[in-house]
Symmetry: C2
């Protein structure tokens, strides 16, 4: 045997979650992490949806359920319910049998599965001439696109850091200048703050430039508390006749993070195209994880299809949205009481679990010296703030802003 | 909007499970499917491991467990227990901190994750000059390797259809003629029937030709009923100082098919190489499913680390092996009673859940006309035979053999 490792030239990857690493290595008892993915309660535990826990217990203890493999495309009662949740039960695409979906391992898996569309050994849909996708700054999505071979990734922003408001005009300009046929990732459309009128403009430009919409919906319902309202942009694109993809995640909205339940929706022009695309996606699944896991999908399908459970779940979702709104109000009020320079209206003008603080990179760096960790662009998760750290976070933001004015 | 679908040129995939399709479309009440992946009981239900069901119930109803995301590399108590199960608790590679693993979505996901090693946008380990892998005929593995871009896949056989015995010499010749540095998939080593002496020869030739061993272990324990004995070949390669990969699946041995629990083991020459490889695998996971699902892994980790549960599970595993041996004996006895031409010793000489019947393609086609479905190469799953179909299967084999003599 040779003495040298065959793996000698394998480099250490550079992509790590340095923010979380920095937080974890910080010995300070005051440290606060403001980039949680999950929706937490006051005590730092994942938000509990009572009808979900109840259904989970019932399914886990049901002796009539077996543990056989699911089909490659997943649990059909779940994919149907999930797709109806996104597109609306009366969606023309569903009625015309040209919308279908694949049950995936989380939202990441849903985006990943579209690799079937991209590899050089397969046809190169959805962009036949193969231009690069545009994406909002979501690192997890960037790494998938890079991994499947997109060498050119462009970024866009929908937030104006100077005006502290939605940058709809700038976004439209980016779309106007994008190469025809590009894929455009529309990440968390319900949280962008674009109005229906602005979404109509986006759809018009995308139609004109033949840009392909790829929606990524991590938390339908958690922006406005209304499932239909949060799906407005997606449904508008479908109504306008677009072909599109939509990756759904159910982690935040059902609290089953470790069950990794996702769904990839395909809307095609006709049912024949849908069948062919789904056959490609199925082949990709076969060569990636063979078939998805079942428990989480069973729970979600049960909750969504039982009117009583569904209503309770919607109430619980609204309660979480109200809690998030209250955190926004409290943080704004604290900063006003402290007399922190600047206008903090944008804290309550934005919706959803994540928001821009409006802090500059230098102010974020100042906060890090106070043991508070958030992204350099000033984005933070509202769910990371609770009664225990609210005062400290507000005071530190005040000091950061005053220190740098 | 254009009237034509962007997906117009997407072809329908040709890869389908035609055997299962043909079986499902057969209206005959006598039809028998002999290619089940799962281990079934007499009534066609998945084999039940009592300590597994008991642990599953306990974990599912434990209110102290949360549903937070697992880390990207998975549930560490599981990966440690799984790796020790395969390599042995005292393995030099573990003691020297140069064996590690990644918790994956099933065995398929474990093989898939090694894509990190292959893409043109990454370093091309484990075969630096990039020759094609060799693989035993396992369609699911072939499709993964094709999918990650191996254009040349060679097949080998370890079963001599004329002599009805293990084809060790032919296998060694294939290895001798393989391009240096090729990856060799060693699928279900415990079921091949190669003796330890023959595995020593295989290791010698592979070392000489610098072939890279990639073990695929779908059912450790289900060949001999002895976990250590079934891991002999893998442990021999580790003891000989090979660097290798090993994909483990726990579906058959824990009966949790729909939980899709897999583990990818890496054995490297030194701990530095291991750290670097695992960083690549972690990046691949991040871009594929972000993090694995937890329930199945929690159950398996609990059973493996609790001595009482582990013993009960081993008993249940042995009971299944004895059931499979009994089916082999019964089928052989039936064929002898019927006076079926030929020697049927090979039915009991082979071990594991799958075997070669020794039937020719023409005899397999004859069986299909009798509504019995098995692979053209005559492979079948012993677990597909039960008290209800044994007589019919034996009689049909008898007719198929007599009809073609």
């Amino acid at each position: 045997m040779a003495a040298l490792s065959l793996f000698l030239d394998v480099p250490l990857t550079t992509e790590v979650n340095w923010l979380l690493d920095a937080y974890q290595q910080d010995p300070s008892p005051h440290k606060v992490y403001l980039d949680h993915r999950d929706c937490q309660t006051e005590t730092g535990k994942a938000w509990d949806y009572p009808p979900v826990s109840q259904t989970l217990l019932q399914i886990s203890t049901d002796p009539t359920l077996d543990h056989e493999d699911l089909p490659e495309l997943g649990f059909s009662a779940f994919t149907r319910a999930a797709t109806e949740l996104a597109l609306g039960r009366e969606s023309r695409a569903l009625v015309e049998n040209r919308a279908g979906s694949v049950h995936t391992i989380g939202g990441t898996g849903a985006v990943r599965t579209t690799e079937a569309a991209r590899g050089p050994w397969r046809c190169t849909w959805p962009c036949r001439s193969g231009p690069a996708p545009l994406s909002a700054p979501a690192d997890s999505l960037r790494c998938i696109f890079q991994d499947v071979g997109f060498t050119e990734l462009r970024s866009y922003h929908y937030w104006d850091t100077a005006r502290l408001a939605v940058a709809a005009e700038e976004f439209l300009q980016v779309l106007e200048s994008a190469p025809e046929g590009s894929i455009v990732m529309l990440h968390a459309p319900e949280e962008t703050g674009l109005t229906p009128k602005q979404w109509e403009d986006v759809a018009r430009v995308m139609g004109k430039k033949r840009l392909f919409p790829f929606f990524d919906v991590p938390a339908q319902g958690l922006a406005s508390g209304d499932l239909d309202r949060d799906a407005w942009a997606l449904r508008h694109f479908v109504a306008q006749g677009f072909e599109l993809l939509c990756a759904q995640s159910f982690s935040k909205t059902f609290g089953l993070y470790d069950e990794r339940v996702g769904n990839l929706i395909v809307v095609a022009r006709d049912s024949g195209s849908l069948v062919r695309i789904c056959s490609q996606l199925q082949e990709q699944v076969r060569a990636t994880w063979a078939s998805p896991t079942s428990l989480g999908a069973r729970v979600i399908a049960t909750v969504l299809s039982n009117p009583a459970l569904r209503n309770k779940w919607k109430q619980s979702l609204r309660a979480l949205v109200e809690k998030i709104l209250l955190i926004r109000e409290k943080l704004k009020a604290k900063l006003r009481l402290l007399g922190t320079p600047g206008c903090w209206e944008h804290l309550t003008a934005q919706v959803g679990t994540r928001s821009f603080t409006g802090l500059l990179p230098s102010q974020v760096a100042f906060l890090e010296r106070s043991h508070i960790y958030l992204r350099p662009d000033g984005q933070f998760s509202l769910c990371s703030i609770n009664a225990h750290n609210l005062d400290y976070v507000a005071r530190s933001i005040h000091e950061a802003v005053c220190g740098s004015v």
